[in-house]
C-alpha cells in the first residue's frame, strides 16, 4: 500500500543533483544578501535597517524591520497623565495598577499606571484607551531581568523609557463618533459634588438649582440644591464620576 514503484526513467544522480543546484543558488545569493543580522552588535532598530524593503543586494532581508508602531515596553509621560484609570480598566490581563506618585494634591493624590510585565500581553489596549496620549508603546523589546520583581515597572521607570525618546507608534486610534455620554438621573441626585471633585478632566461643573418652595405639608428632600453638568467635549468617558456617585444617579447612555 505504502510502496510505490520508482520511476524507471529517472537517474539516481539527478535525484540528488537537482535539489543541490537550487540549494547552491541559494547559498550563492546568501553571500551577497544575508538573511540575518549580527545581534546584539547590530540591531533591527538601527537607522540602516529602517525604511524600504530589504530585498536589494547587500542588505539583509526584511521589511523596514522594527517599525515605529511595534508594541513593546510602554512609555509614560507622567506630567500629562490625568489619572483617569482608563488604561487599568481596559487591560485584559489586569497587569496595570494605579499607584500614587509624588506631586499631587495630598487629599486627592495623583495616580499613574504601574505595569507588571510578567502579566502584560502587549495588546496595546491601554495606549489605545489613553485619552491624553501619555501612555504609549515603544519599540523597546529587550526585557530580560534576573529578579521577578524587576518585571514590575513603576511610573518612574516608565517615565525613564519615555525620556529615552524611543520611536513611538504614530498610530492614534480614532474615537468612534457615536460615544456614550454620562447622563444624570436628576431626582436621585443629592448635589454632593463627589463627581465634580474626582473628575480627572474637571469637565463637571455644579450648577445651582432653584430651591423649590414647599407647598402645603409637602416635605422637601434633604439635599444640596446643585446639580452636575457634564461638558461632553472635554469628557474622556472614564466613568470615575459614576464610580464615586454615592446615590448611583449617574449612568451611561446615548446622547440626548
Amino acid at each position: 500500500m505504502a510502496e510505490s514503484e520508482p520511476t524507471p526513467s529517472s537517474n539516481p544522480v539527478l535525484w540528488v543533483a537537482k535539489p543541490l543546484v537550487t540549494a547552491a543558488r541559494q547559498f550563492g545569493k546568501s553571500l551577497f544578501r544575508p538573511s540575518t543580522i549580527v545581534y546584539p552588535f547590530e540591531r533591527l532598530e538601527d537607522p540602516k535597517f529602517r525604511g524600504a524593503v530589504r530585498v536589494a543586494p547587500g542588505k539583509p532581508i526584511g521589511v523596514g524591520q522594527v517599525w515605529d508602531n511595534y508594541r513593546g515596553v510602554h512609555a509614560l509621560n507622567i506630567d500629562t497623565c490625568i489619572s483617569c484609570n482608563l488604561c487599568a480598566f481596559s487591560c485584559p490581563d489586569l497587569c496595570i495598577d494605579m499607584v500614587t506618585v509624588p506631586g499631587g494634591d495630598p487629599r486627592h493624590p495623583k495616580k499613574c499606571p504601574q505595569i507588571d510585565y510578567g502579566k502584560c500581553s502587549y495588546c496595546g489596549f491601554c495606549s489605545d484607551a489613553c485619552p491624553e496620549g501619555c501612555l504609549t508603546m515603544t519599540t523597546r523589546y529587550e526585557l530580560s531581568v534576573s529578579k521577578r520583581a524587576d518585571m514590575i515597572y513603576s511610573p518612574e521607570r516608565l517615565r525613564e523609557v519615555f525620556n529615552a525618546k524611543l520611536p513611538m507608534s504614530p498610530i492614534r486610534v480614532e474615537r468612534p463618533k457615536n460615544e456614550d455620554a454620562i447622563l444624570l438621573d436628576a431626582p436621585l441626585c443629592i448635589g454632593c459634588n463627589a463627581c465634580a471633585r474626582d473628575c480627572p478632566t474637571k469637565c463637571i461643573t455644579m450648577v445651582d438649582l432653584p430651591k423649590p418652595v414647599p407647598k402645603g405639608g409637602e416635605k422637601l428632600p434633604k439635599r444640596i440644591w446643585k446639580e452636575p453638568v457634564v461638558n461632553d467635549s472635554d469628557c474622556v468617558r472614564c466613568g470615575t464620576c459614576i464610580s464615586v456617585c454615592p446615590k448611583e444617579c449617574l449612568f451611561w447612555g446615548t446622547h440626548r
Partner: protein, 381 residues
Amino acid sequence: MSEMWINMGPQHPMTHGLWNLRVKIDGEIVLDVDPEMGYLHRGIEKISEDRHYNEIITLMDRTCYVAGIAWEHLFILAAEQALHVEPPERALWIRMLSEEFQRVASHLMWYAAFVQDIGLMSPFLYGMRDRDLVLDLFQSYTGGRLTYEYMRVGGVRNDLPPGFAEQARKVCDWLLDRFVEYDRLCSGSDIFHRRCDDLGVVKAQDCIRLGITGPMLRSAGVPRDLRKDRPYAAYDRVDFDVATAETADVTGRYVVRMEELRQSVRIIRQALDWLDKNPGPVMADNVPRWMGAPYAPVGREGYLLKREYPKGVGFSAIEEPHGEALAYVVNEGGEHPYRVKLKSPVFVNLSAARHYLVGYRVADIPPIMGSVDICVGEVDR
C-alpha cells in the same frame, strides 16, 4: 507476531505541539492509532464568557498561534452579527488582506515544518526566512508579529500605514520567486516523490464522511472552499481559483498548499489595488465607544457597569489556513457574550488519524501527520 502500543508524544518531534498519538504496531506496520488531544486546553471558550468583546480578540490570537488573524476574523464576524454592527467596506478589504497574508505565513510555517518531517533541512530555513517577510509586514501595520490584536468589533484598529502597499507588492514579487524554488526542492525532486507519493491516502468520500476540511479535502479533488462557497469579507469581489489535487496523498496536500500560496498572493495584489483606490474610514460610525475601543469602566464595587444593547446570535464560518473554522456567539444583552463556541478544523482532521495512518509504516507517520498541518492551540482551544 507481537503487537504493542507505543506513545508518539506528547514530547515527540512529529507532534508539532502538545498531543499524543498512541500507535499499535506489528513490527513496522501500523495496525491502529488513537490520537489523544487536550494537553493544551486553556478553556478559551469559557474565559470568553467573562470578557469584553474586544478583549476576546487577545484570546483568539492565542487560539491558533500561527494563524492568529484568521481566528480574530472568525470571531469578529460572529460578534458583529451578534451585536448588529456593520463594518465599513474598507475594513472588510483590510481584513481579507490580513487573512491572506496570514494564510501565506501559516502555509510557509507548514512548509518549513513539513519538509523537516521528511528529512530536509535547507527548505526549513528558507520557509522560515520568507515567513519573516510577512511577519514584518504584519508588524508594520498591526504592531505585533504573532499576536496581532488588530481587529475590532466594527472594523479594524488602524488603517494601513503610508508606503505599505509598495512594500507589500515587493514582498509578493519576492515570494512568487521563492515558491518556484520551493517546488524545485520538493515536488521537482524524485526523492520527495518516492517519499510522499501514495502516503496517507483519504479518498474524497471518506473525507466528506469524516468531516475533513481544508487542504486535506481539496487534495482529494473536492473543490470545497468557503471563500468561494460562502463568501465573507470581500471574497466575492476578487478573482481566485480553488486549488485542488486528485491524488489525495501527502504530495497532493503539498501541491494544494503551494497553489494556495500563489492564489493568496493573487488575492493580496487585488486587495492592495482596491485599497489604493478607495480610501475611507476603517471603523464603523455607529459603534459605541466602549465597543470600538476596549473600554470597560468599572463600577463602585468593582463590577462592570451594565449597559443596554440589542440581543443577538452570531454565526460565522471562514476558510482558515487549516480548514473550515466556525464560531457561534450568543449575546444575551450583557457586557460579555453569553456563549462562544469555536469549531476547529484541525481537531476534526486529527481525529480521523485512524483513516489515513493504518496500514502504513511507523516511519511514514511523521510525513503524514506533517501534511495535516497541525496547530495544537486550536485543537484544544
